[in-house]
């Protein structure tokens, strides 16, 4: 009786050790993620981060689909019937720079940055999906014939673009809303997205 009991205990331990040392899945059941796939996953993350800024009102307000600049967090029509004009900078004598200078004005709340103007009409983003915006942005017939390198520079170094992160106060002295992504995260995301091929994620 005692001998039989010992036999069962030993058998149980052996079987237990076998289970403990044998992986549940065999090695050939793992899926190796191809670098191209991995890059596309990371690029999609970078794309989404980048687009949180690009599709923000601070940016889209100056990329209207009509000829009227927008303002505020709801994309309201710019006051005073101001419009694009012939060179995206307003009319002949009343231009963007009649009111907007190269810096935000803390006294009046009028926003400002270097080269204050509307984006060209070919770069109208208002009402587009992120995917449509990205397609337009990469299209050299619409983007001012900018290469990827030019676009990276424009998106990460242009003072008017980066104004989105320093939009100043409004006419009531209240801080304007900023994109939900920090400037550093945004710049890193732009660079990563282009480095990984500027892939526009497919809709699922």
């Amino acid at each position: 009786m005692k001998k039989t009991h010992s036999y069962f205990v030993v058998s149980f331990l052996v079987v237990g050790m076998l289970f403990a040392t044998t992986p549940y899945f065999s090695k050939n059941e793992y899926t190796t993620i191809d670098k191209v796939v991995l890059d596309s996953i990371q690029a999609k993350d970078a794309f989404n981060t980048m687009m949180k800024v690009i599709s923000h009102d601070r940016c889209v307000n100056c990329h209207p689909s009509d000829n009227r600049p927008k303002q505020g967090d709801q994309g309201n029509q710019h006051h005073f019937d101001i419009a694009r004009g012939g060179a995206n900078t307003g009319f002949e004598a009343t231009k963007c720079t009649t009111c907007h200078q190269s810096e935000n004005n803390v006294y009046s709340g009028v926003p400002g940055a270097a080269n204050w103007s509307l984006a060209p009409k070919t770069m109208a983003w208002q009402g587009l999906t992120n995917k449509e915006i990205a397609k337009a942005m990469l299209d050299r017939t619409k983007n001012g014939n900018r290469s990827h390198k030019d676009l990276i520079h424009h998106l990460t170094e242009d003072k008017l673009v980066l104004w989105a992160f320093n939009p100043g106060v409004n006419q009531d002295g209240v801080q304007r809303t900023k994109p939900t992504v920090s400037e550093e995260e945004y710049k890193a995301a732009v660079k990563e997205w282009f480095e990984k091929g500027a892939i526009i994620p497919e809709d699922k």
């Binding site: 006051h79 005073f80 019937d81 101001i82 419009a83 004009g85 009319f91 002949e92 004598a93 009343t94 231009k95 720079t97 009649t98 009111c99 200078q101 190269s102 810096e103 004005n105 803390v106 006294y107 009046s108 709340g109 009028v110 006419q171």
Partner: protein, 164 residues
């Protein structure tokens, strides 16, 4: 901080504690040129319009530091009673002002417009003259703007032909 510029043809230098002080405050309170008016302080009404290097700007929203080395013209420098600018003459002829407070801004905006478009259409006027007049003298102003264009052309016929 010291800022030097030319205003109405004269060289001026002003000392300001804050380089972002609105040019309007400097013009009115330091240089005592009261023709340029404070209206809204938000670059909305246009009462503070003057010229910097020939361009109309809203001086309530223009930091004085940006005026460094530039040519500023206020309503006082546009013309005077003896030798009025065509815009001022037209304003007199059409008896435009009612209360008058906003008129210097309108006249400066109009002078800038006529420098760019010597014979503006009504549409040009609508686009470029967007100041606010609480007395609603817009109808008389429109007539005066057209009259000013005529006066300016009469005064400078050769220049206007070259520009046309």
């Amino acid at each position: 901080m010291q800022v030097s510029f030319f205003i109405n043809g004269e060289s001026k230098s002003v000392e300001v504690a804050d380089e972002n002080t609105p040019l309007l405050w400097v013009v009115r309170d330091i240089l005592d040129l009261k023709g340029t008016k404070f209206g809204c302080g938000k670059a909305a009404c246009g009462a503070c319009t003057l010229h910097v290097d020939g361009e109309a700007i809203r001086s309530c929203s223009y930091a004085v530091k940006f005026a460094k080395g530039k040519q500023i013209t206020t309503i006082e420098g546009l013309g005077n009673e003896e030798n009025p600018h065509p815009v001022q003459q037209a304003w007199i002829e059409e008896v435009v002002p009612q209360c008058g407070y906003c008129q210097p801004g309108f006249m400066m905006a109009t002078a800038a417009l006529l420098d760019k478009i010597p014979n503006p259409t009504d549409e040009d006027i609508d686009k470029n003259i967007i100041n606010v007049c609480r007395c609603a003298t817009y109808y008389r102003m429109r007539k005066a703007i057209h009259r000013a264009a005529e006066l300016k052309t009469e005064a400078n016929p050769i220049t206007e032909i070259e520009n046309s």
